[in-house]
């Protein structure tokens, strides 16, 4: 299944006013966020591109079109913001990211710095430490038997490894998840989730700004390694703290929701849990498949830099295009049995980490955390069951749970 991106040539008169479906769906309403899958199907089946009049944006929900938009950053830029807010028209709520909200060539330089700090070679160095922490966490939870898998596992494990890997000070770390929640809510429209988050964000922003400074970062951590690139002349002293901020914005809440998704999947698909137990080497793919199925990061926007035809549908220059990553990850045009969790699925090509030049720069850290934690569970735990009502957490961009009571028995 392919999508085409071509120069917009249609005259203003015959622009596909007839072809392009305009839908009355708000992908940021509480109703949508509580169960997005039926609406995702409507959006996918309505056409390759749809118009959403509630926010006057275009949306792509099929895998081919999402992939095409992700892979054409010249036409679909990030420097006007990857949320609904258009930085060409509105002042951003915080200074823009030098990597997420940037285009080549500026993006190329900053991206190279983070690629190097979070490279496969660096993952080899931190792997044993992350694996040991995962073993310790699972042992601790087995002693408890029953716990909240959101607070005590999906949040607690990344919090036990990631802030140390960045090289953060101990005090104030409670701001990290709160700050990330603001960042991901802020990509959404000016609804209550976004407005409330930003109103309450000042203490979290102050904490993050301070911790991004070189004096507050251990030299051997990811943060210190970013600052070291200043000495090498790759970035400036004013750029380094903003690149550290990217790690603090996107490096924790995402893995929290990824790990939460994996636990939620394994608890709901006992045959897959049995399969993982019988072969713990499937842990890495079990995590990846959970990222596909649950898509912890549900959406991102781009802005068109020119008139463009997406699979024959005309979109003007300067329009926001919403990529429904989660819908693409369950597009039956691309995936067999898209709604089932299959830990042996060939997941390559899913867009849970985005794609193209902006594909998640921390994807290797996320996979490492997911792999070592699921492998530890598979080796040490016999049964993993949901033992109480789950509660969903609402965020404009992130999908995950607020509470997930789990009971374990030891292997």
């Amino acid at each position: 299944m392919t999508a085409t991106i071509s120069t917009g040539t249609a005259s203003p008169i015959d622009r596909n006013a007839l072809d392009m479906p305009s839908l009355d769906i708000d992908p940021f309403s509480m109703e949508f966020l509580s169960d997005p899958h039926p609406a995702h199907e409507i959006l996918r089946e309505a056409g390759p591109v749809v118009h959403l009049h509630k926010w006057n944006v275009y949306a792509v929900a099929r895998h081919a079109e999402v992939w095409a938009v992700l892979n054409d950053p010249q036409t679909f830029c990030s420097s006007r913001g990857v949320g609904l807010s258009d930085f060409a028209k509105e002042k951003p709520w915080r200074p823009p990211s030098l990597i997420l909200e940037a285009d080549p060539p500026a993006h190329t330089r900053t991206r190279a710095v983070l690629n190097r700090v979070l490279s496969p070679a660096v993952m080899k160095q931190i792997r044993d430490r992350f694996a040991a922490a995962a073993e310790a966490k699972v042992d601790e939870l087995l002693a408890k038997r029953s716990f909240d898998a959101v607070a005590d596992l999906a949040e607690a494990y990344p919090l036990s490894v990631f802030p140390d890997a960045v090289g953060l000070r101990q005090e104030g770390r409670e701001h990290l998840l709160a700050y990330a929640g603001v960042v991901f809510n802020a990509f959404g429209p000016p609804n209550e989730l976004r407005q409330t988050a930003i109103e309450r964000s000042m203490p979290h922003q102050a904490y993050v700004a301070e911790q991004c400074q070189r004096r507050n970062l251990a030299p051997e951590g990811f943060g210190g390694c970013i600052h070291a690139r200043v000495d090498a002349g790759d970035i400036t002293e004013t750029e380094a703290p903003l690149l550290v901020r990217s790690l603090l914005s996107a490096g924790l809440d995402t893995t929290v929701n990824g790990i939460g998704a994996a636990i939620y999947c394994l608890a709901r698909f006992p045959d897959q849990w049995a399969r993982l137990r019988s072969d713990p080497s499937l842990a890495r793919n079990a995590f990846e498949e959970a990222v596909r199925l649950e898509s912890p990061v549900q959406t991102f926007f781009r802005t068109t830099t020119r008139d463009v035809e997406i699979s024959g549908m005309h979109v003007d220059e300067g329009e926001k295009v919403l990529m429904l990553l989660a819908a693409a990850n369950r597009d039956p045009r691309r995936w067999d049995n898209p709604d089932s969790y299959d830990i042996t699925r060939r997941t390559s090509g899913h867009v849970g980490f985005g794609g193209g030049i902006h594909m998640c720069v921390g994807q290797l850290v996320a996979r490492l955390e997911g792999e070592v934690l699921l492998a530890a569970l598979a080796r040490k735990v016999a049964t993993l069951d949901i033992s109480g009502p789950i509660e969903r957490r609402y965020n404009n961009t992130l999908r995950g749970l607020e509470r997930m009571p789990i009971t374990l028995t030891p292997a």
């Binding site: 690629n115 496969p120 070679a121 080899k124 390559s348 994807q363």
Partner: protein, 106 residues
């Protein structure tokens, strides 16, 4: 159209043909399990590592700095003939390319 010859990690030889895409995409499309390609071809993960036959290594497009750095983190041993298959576009000039697959990618 170019035929690419894969030597699997268990020694089996298999050939697949394509006229576009990357060597990684050809491997994935044909169920070559040794190619994982976690990042989907964005040169970000080093899980589509291959060893190019000596006779072919100099006939491939040069590797860039990003690929070079990623190969340092590949799971299997890096050799002078190591490449990331997502960075090798299939062209007619590569008809007959021979490559060997490592036994692990992560």
């Amino acid at each position: 159209m170019a035929t690419i010859n894969f030597v699997r990690s268990d020694g089996r030889a298999q050939s697949f043909a394509a006229d576009s895409g990357s060597v990684m995409q050809l491997a994935i499309a044909n169920g070559v399990d040794e190619i994982v390609a976690e990042c989907g071809g964005n040169a970000m993960c080093a899980t589509c590592h291959v060893y190019i036959d000596d006779a072919w290594i100099d006939r491939l497009p040069a590797m860039d700095e990003a690929e070079n750095a990623l190969l340092d983190g590949a799971a299997a041993e890096r050799l002078p003939t190591s490449r990331l298959s997502c960075q090798i576009p299939i062209t007619a000039e590569l008809d007959g390319l021979v490559l060997r697959l490592p036994d692990r990618q992560v």
